[in-house]
């Protein structure tokens, strides 16, 4: 039960983060005036996000290993 709760929390955070990121990236490409700036900033944002979300996943794994 506790495991499922943590997994659900992680998934909610992940989905909210992805939706928020898509909205932001859409605005940058749709309303920005410089495509190169948009591409560079989006790539750096995605790389940083993946790095942090992997960290969060590692934390989740350690929680799940302790609740088993």
């Amino acid at each position: 039960m506790s495991n499922q709760l943590f997994i659900i929390v992680y998934l909610i955070i992940l989905i909210a983060y992805i939706i928020g990121s898509i909205v932001m990236i859409y605005h940058i490409f749709a309303f920005g005036i410089n495509t190169r700036t948009a591409i560079i900033s989006t790539i750096s944002y995605i790389v940083g996000s993946i790095f942090l979300l992997v960290f969060l996943y590692i934390d989740l794994q350690s929680i799940l290993s302790l609740t088993n």
């Binding site: 410089n34 900033s41 942090l52 969060l56």
Partner: protein, 209 residues
């Protein structure tokens, strides 16, 4: 050095056919750096808490609670990263564009909330510069108010742009150049010839937003 972007590869939504971006002004970097300093303070604070708190609170040394604590700290760091990028997005999407036809102010108030104002650059009559406050004077940024003449009088606000006096001169130069082109077109206009207007101004067919 003026904070500007120039080039022919710049495009914006609602751009007219044959319209060329001459210069783009943005708000001063001061308005980007201040939120970033706050973000860095918040990040440093959470990293200090992540290191100090488990040592001082014995209950956080229990493996399960320590793991949950790490999870929360990582979540805070993700939130800080997201807000930092959000700040940059707002900074990037607010722009004051001067083209060979118009002056546009684009204000991204929020996501899905955008305000675009424009005026014909040939009608620019008066430009007022307001530099107010300690930071504005020391860091050299201020507000530029562009007023147009004619029946459709309007005022455009270019808020907190760096080097406002230089910006004023640049806008006036483009306005003068536009008026010369218009005058030249008017004198060389031949009704029987196919119209090749170098500086089309028909904004009614292509509204900006």
């Amino acid at each position: 050095m003026i904070d500007k972007v120039t080039g022919k590869n710049l495009h914006f939504p609602g751009q007219h056919k044959g319209e060329e971006v001459k210069i783009v002004f943005r708000r001063s970097m001061f308005f980007l750096i201040v939120p970033y300093i706050l973000n860095i303070i918040l990040l440093a604070g959470s990293l200090i808490i992540a290191n100090v708190l488990p040592a001082s609170i014995p209950i956080l040394q229990e493996p399960f609670l320590a793991a949950v604590f790490d999870f929360i700290i990582t979540l805070i760091i993700i939130f800080i990263f997201y807000t930092a990028f959000l700040t940059w997005t707002h900074y990037y999407l607010d722009a004051y564009i001067v083209t060979n036809q118009r002056v546009l102010t684009i204000d991204q108030i929020d996501f899905f909330h955008r305000k675009v104002s424009e005026a014909d650059i040939g009608n620019v009559q008066d430009i007022e510069v307001v530099v107010q406050g300690f930071f504005a004077n020391t860091l050299n940024f201020g507000d530029v108010r562009v007023q147009t003449a004619g029946a459709d009088q309007r005022i455009l606000f270019l808020d907190n742009i760096p080097y406002p006096y230089k910006a004023k001169d640049i806008i006036l130069q483009f306005a003068e150049a536009n008026r010369k082109v218009e005058l030249h077109n008017a004198y060389t206009y031949e009704p029987n010839k196919t119209e090749t207007n170098q500086n089309p101004k028909d904004s009614s067919n292509n509204p900006i937003s």
